[in-house]
Amino acid sequence: MQLPASQVAVLEAVNADEATAVDALAAATELPPETVTGAVFELEDEGLVAVSERTDETIDLTDEGRAYADEALPELRLYEAALEAGAGDEPVQMGQVIGRSGLEGPQVDIALSNYARKGYGAIDSGEITADPDADPDADPEANALEILADTGETAPDAVEVGDETVEGLESRGLLERSESILREVTLTERGVTELMAGLETAETVGQVTPELLTSGEWDDVEFAEYNVEADAERFEGGNVHILRQTAERVKDVLVGMGFQEMEGPHVDADFWINDCLFMPQDHPARTHWDRFALAEPTHIDELPADLIADVERAHREGVGPDGEGYHSPWDADFARALALRGHTTSLSTRYLSGEQIGEIEPPARYFSVEKVYRNDTLDPTHLLEFFQIEGWVMAEDLSVRDLMGTFEEFYAQFGITDIEFKPHYNPYTEPSFELFGTHPTTGELVEIGNSGIFREEMLEPLGVDCDVMAWGLALERLLMLMYGFEDIRDIHGTLCDLELLRNTEVTY
């Protein structure tokens, strides 16, 4: 049989006919008592040993008791001094005797209170007498102290000290009793058999190895214990960027709501970014410095000629019998200028026109979660590049109620409820709404998006003859609302802090 080393040692130290205490086993095996105890239980489980338990009482002197064992009990010292002072014959002044005895402090009281009780004499009116027949050598307490000082801690019945004396010394605080559980071990018959058959020692191991597993040795080894509470070495592993996680979640929600994803160029002609949106060419947003125009290359090669003509007509003359255009200049070359898209509505115009994937028949829902570029002031809440969530629904007879309902469903997925709609103005939508939502934790009302129903001046040139409602919002705004980030630059871009990214809670 193979057993761990500690169990082998214990088994060899136990006896079949005589119970051995664990302490004795520890002494015999030179193992720590707790290891022996552990091994004993393992062996008992195996049926190799029997364990009996009993509660043992021991007595031992206290420090005070040991001191009196050295220098005699105070009452005996008083008796000796009294005899020397002649108190055996006639009463002597107490002060004289105490002075002679050398007793001090609390020892005086102890001596006086035990002197008469134990028959060494009498104390009366400040005078002390001594019984010359008293025998200090026969004092049971003094004798017990002497014995116990020699034996040290011991079982009460192992020494010749009377029970009354033990109780007396205990009440004087000169002796302590204590109880301990004593386990005694005997070898069982099976233990004897196995011992006769011979034992092999199994070693403790740190690592589970292939050899251990294939050989079956794992059944016999003992695994070294770890400190399982200690912190492990830090491990990063891979993780998806928190803004990507949020974008993925938005995509999941929109796909679930029946939206198809759009894609298209980041650098695009102003035609797709602005002109198709019925933005007049002299609109402040188009000449404003917040637009990222390209220095190289400068213009798109080709735009659909029919569409250019239709868009120009809408700008100049408007659409429909009562329509009016803008009193603004319109120039095809201006429309061909390239810029980094300021919104992903450029994708919507490409898709709606049929340019990107051909004609789209209603009903249809489309979305994108893609980057847009604004030449704005860089600060904790504004980046030059950010993600816009663009979405539109194309169907017959859409109403502003449909728009509101779509928003409520979408934002509810992110815990943002109580959406409010503020009538707004955009050149390309009518009616238009800014959206406000209630922050789930702060309760603050925050702007979360811009939306509306695309104008006919926008849709008619694109060849769309039903309604399209649309919206856009910043993904970062949603992220900041959900996580309470204060500086978006810690997250997005080359100034990012890896520690922050590593410690950000995942979203789902």
Binding site: E236, G238, N239, H241, K251, G256, M257, G258, Q260, E263, P265, H266, V267, A269, A293, L294, A295, E296, P297, H299, I300, D301, G320, P321, D322, G323, H327, S328, L338, L340, P363, R365, Y373, L378, L384, E385, S399, V400, R401, D402, M404, G405, T406, E408, K422, P423, Y425, E430, P431, R455, E456, E457, D467, H492, G493, T494, C496, D497, L498, L501
Partner: protein, 572 residues
């Protein structure tokens, strides 16, 4: 968005609701879409507004809108005008770049300090919005009593002022805020306002100028003369506007006339005499839009009685009359007042009706339209590759698409025209915001190195990856730019090496079932002899190697870095 300053006391006075306290006023203004942003030092409200209702650029217009909102006013109101006395004659010499002029005479105006301030603010706000910073339209307001009509050659004729073009140094006048007589050219150089607006006219051969019998009194669109300066003592005003579009300046004039009429002034027509035609201004004519009842109901998503529609229109300051179109459907002939510059289409009328109804009183509903959702292929591919990269232990990153030439090329020892992966002619930004963002990055590795550079105090290993947008000039593309997604990865730690990078790239390629070969190559960013091309399914699509110590030191890195980058499409 633009802001306008409104004195709440004036607003109470002009709207006729003295009892409204400031908070009530703020709520009422929010209902109009005017958001309270704060107060000026003088205690006026600063209100932010969307730039469609330009008739609300001053307290008079805001008060008018409030009166409609309160139900104190209904329908269209057009102030009456008196017959013209004055004529503006447009001379042939007028610069062809700025051929249009319009004007009006305002009588018996009672301008106190607030009134004058409000008029100046209106003028400035109109310049900033419709006037496109005075380029499209510029306003000049003058004290009429200081003007003298030109010598009347024909007794039938009105007193006349002239809109002409002058040589830059042809004549002199004393501009506002000056004591010196200056020529128009001198104004552009020496006068503060002149310098501000010099760009508008400096290319002109002849400068715009307005004369009366006494001489030059206005140099539009730059500055007026001091002689005709308006003060609180002015009783009669002459308003002129010049610009590049007649409609625009006429609408600006209409808004000014409505504001002054609200203060009790009388408007008097002016004749504008062009070489081939004559206009009577201001043009306070209304226009009509035919709005279908059915369209109102579908856009608002509710059923309405015709009486309700007419009521909503009148509460919006419009007039609506029931009618039928040729198919016999119910329509409304809606009259639009002349100060409304934002109504281009019947849809704009429906928006007004919705606002009067209260959009927030509408019950949201989810559209009963069935469609099937889905993601496009590249988006799905990108997600799968990202999942694999994360599984391989990479931290996914998100960097800017804009970068500097220095970071994209110089700091990684690549020149734009080098025949190595990651090089390429840059798509550059015109007038960049900052020298850190001057072009679109041509590859991802420089961004990852910048993140390593910024995070040297953070725990290693730093195994970073990004599936990122890149762009470079490509004449074969319609936009002249090839936009590509690339997979970039770096491994930074004390033990990082080629082997680790290759192991992970191999794993990635295996999962996408593509063949990977890595023939040796040279690339200035990487250590020679430890660099290979990434060849996937026989195509050279990237690079893998240990980053050159020169590049590491340049980025203040004190650990070895290995990495790879290749085209995302190669895994497709």
């Amino acid at each position: 968005m633009p802001t306008v300053e409104i004195d709440p006391d004036e607003l109470r006075d002009l709207s006729g609701h003295e009892e409204k306290d400031d908070d009530e006023l703020k709520d009422d203004l929010f209902g109009l879409g005017l958001e309270f942003e704060g107060r000026t030092e003088a205690g006026a409200f600063e209100l932010e507004f969307a730039p469609d209702r330009l008739d609300r650029l001053s307290v008079e217009g805001v008060a008018r809108s409030l009166r409609y909102q309160y139900g104190d006013a209904r329908g269209v109101h057009v102030p009456g005008t008196n017959s013209p006395e004055w004529t503006i004659r447009v001379d042939d010499s007028v610069p062809e770049e700025r051929p249009y002029v319009t004007g009006a005479v305002i009588r018996d105006v009672n301008l106190d300090e607030e009134g004058l301030e409000s008029l100046i603010q209106l003028q400035e706000k109109l310049h900033a919005t419709m006037g496109r910073k005075r380029a499209k339209g510029a306003i000049g307001i003058h004290d009429l009593t200081m003007l003298k009509g030109a010598a009347v050659t024909d007794t039938e004729s009105n007193p006349t002022i002239e809109y002409v073009g002058v040589e830059p140094d042809e004549d002199r006048f004393v501009p506002l805020d000056s004591d010196a007589e200056l020529t128009p050219a001198e104004v552009l150089e020496e006068h503060q306002t002149g310098r501000t607006y010099a760009d508008l006219v400096s290319e002109y051969e002849r400068y715009p100028a307005i004369y009366d019998d006494l001489g030059l009194f206005s140099f539009p669109p730059v500055i007026n003369g001091r002689r005709t300066e308006v003060s609180t003592d002015s009783r009669d005003l002459f308003v002129e506007m010049t610009g590049t579009d007649q409609w625009t300046i006429d609408k600006m004039l209409t808004i000014v006339c409505y504001a002054l009429a609200a203060r009790g002034a009388t408007i008097e027509d002016v004749v504008v005499e062009y070489a081939d035609h004559e206009l009577h201004r201001p043009d306070l004519s209304t226009k009509t839009k035919t709005v279908a009842h059915d369209r109102i109901e579908t856009i608002l998503g509710i059923g309405l009685d015709p009486e309700e529609v007419i009521d909503l229109a009148e509460r919006s300051g419009l007039d609506a009359e029931r009618s039928e179109n040729k198919d016999g459907d119910l329509v409304y002939e809606v009259t639009i007042p002349p100060y409304r510059v934002d109504v281009l289409h019947p849809l704009d009328v429906i928006d007004d009706l919705g606002r009067a109804y209260g959009f927030n009183d509408l019950e949201p509903k989810y559209p009963d339209v069935g469609t099937v959702g889905g993601r496009h292929e590249r988006s799905r591919l990108e997600r799968s590759v990202r999942e694999q990269l994360v599984g391989l232990g990479f931290e996914d990153l998100l960097n800017f698409h804009m970068i500097s030439e220095e970071a994209n090329y110089e700091r990684v020892d690549v020149s734009p025209d080098a025949a190595v992966y990651g090089a390429g002619k840059p798509a550059t930004i015109k007038g960049p915001y900052s020298e850190d963002f001057t072009m679109l990055r041509t590859w991802v590795t420089p961004s990852l190195l910048m993140v390593l550079e910024r995070n040297t105090h953070r725990a290693y290993p730093q195994d970073l990856a990004e599936i990122g947008f890149t762009a470079a000039v490509d004449d074969g593309e319609n936009t002249g730019i090839a936009e590509r997604r690339r997979v970039g990865a770096v491994l930074a730690s004390h033990e990082a090496g080629y082997e680790d990078a290759k192991a992970r790239l191999q794993a990635l390629c295996r999962r996408f079932d593509v063949d990977l070969e890595t023939p040796p190559t040279d690339h200035p960013t990487y250590i020679s002899g430890r660099t290979a091309s990434v060849v996937i399914d026989g195509e050279d699509v990237g690079v893998i190697g240990e980053l050159h110590p020169r590049v590491l030191v340049e980025h203040d890195l004190e650990v070895p870095v290995a990495g790879f980058e290749f085209d995302l499409a190669a895994l497709q």
